[in-house]
Amino acid sequence: MRLEDATRPELLTVLRSLLQERDELQHKLDLLVDEHDRVARELAGVEREHAIVSQMHVATRLLHRTLDRRQVISAILEVCINLVGSEQVALFERDDDPQRLNLIASFGVDEAAYAAVSVEHGAIGDAARGGVIQLATPDEADAAGGKPAVCIPLRVGDAIVGVIVMFRLLPHKAGFEQVDFALFDVLSEHAGVALVASAGAR
């Protein structure tokens, strides 16, 4: 049928057909857009999970690839500084006195002020006694003499052999994210084991 020769009813029929086809195509397009958005969200989720697993792998690898105590301690600090993003880190270890933690390494911290810490009080003590990661709220961290951003107990089995303390994050890091919490778990489970193993290897 040539449109030029079509009658009005014929043109209306063609028009209705085109409008219906347009609606069907629009519906298909909407479904494709929804599917695209769903896949994009899934991909973003997979990428987030991959990023977390990758960081955990790097941290675990760093902690366990050597029995040299100095390198193990360096690896612990590296995880805190370069993977988590802290600019003030202190690593404490328990010695013969179970009530005391000794500073064995630090970055950006006044070592004299934290040479030895009691486990009786404070967030560091809470982590050492309770074996639970201590997180400061933004208000707690900002207060004068503020609570450290995070205190991570180092476990070997049921024993707490030390604590990692990150006092402050880098200025551009707004707060902790899911990947950081995963790294805290790695540090809590593996850093203590690596420390003890390196001490035993001396």
């Binding site: 990428e47 991959h50 370069n82």
Partner: protein
């Protein structure tokens, strides 16, 4: 031993005169950092992409490798022994072969004045540590036209 243990993953044949021979699909990226942790994270982020990765552990080695290998892009730490990232950037911008190569600073020092100093020396972009693989890949794709 996994491929993450290899320092350099330069494809065979991609030497100093290789820029013309390198396929358009693969780009050579020079990773410069004195932290093995950061290099490990960068390799993991970029290792499966269309990138041939070479590394340098300090500023002096960075200049040597950049002039020898002529990478398509450089990821450059700031605080390094022997020669810091700013000095490396200044040096590379003085050579014809590296004057135009995109240089992305990878740094914790993101304060305004340091960013300005980097750009005034010829830096192309910044990425803050800690970074995600997605962030790093986005930067590379942006500056390599991928």
């Amino acid at each position: 031993m996994s491929d993450w243990d290899d320092e350099d993953e330069v494809t065979r044949g991609a030497g100093t005169a290789a820029a013309g021979k390198r396929t358009a699909a693969r780009k050579k990226v020079l990773l410069v950092d004195d932290s093995e942790t950061v290099l490990m994270v960068e390799r993991m982020a970029l290792g499966r992409g269309p990138y041939d990765l070479i590394t340098a552990r300090d500023g002096v080695e960075a200049v040597q490798r950049a002039l020898a290998e002529r990478p398509d892009l450089i990821l450059l730490d700031v605080m390094m022994p022997r020669m810091n990232g700013f000095e490396v950037c200044r040096e590379l911008r003085q050579h014809e072969s590296t004057r135009q190569v995109p240089i992305i600073f990878v740094t914790t020092r993101s304060e305004g004045e340091n960013v300005e100093a980097g750009y005034s020396l010829g830096a192309t972009d910044y990425v803050n540590k800690p970074f995600t693989a997605a962030e790093l890949l986005a930067k590379l794709r942006s500056h390599l036209g991928q």
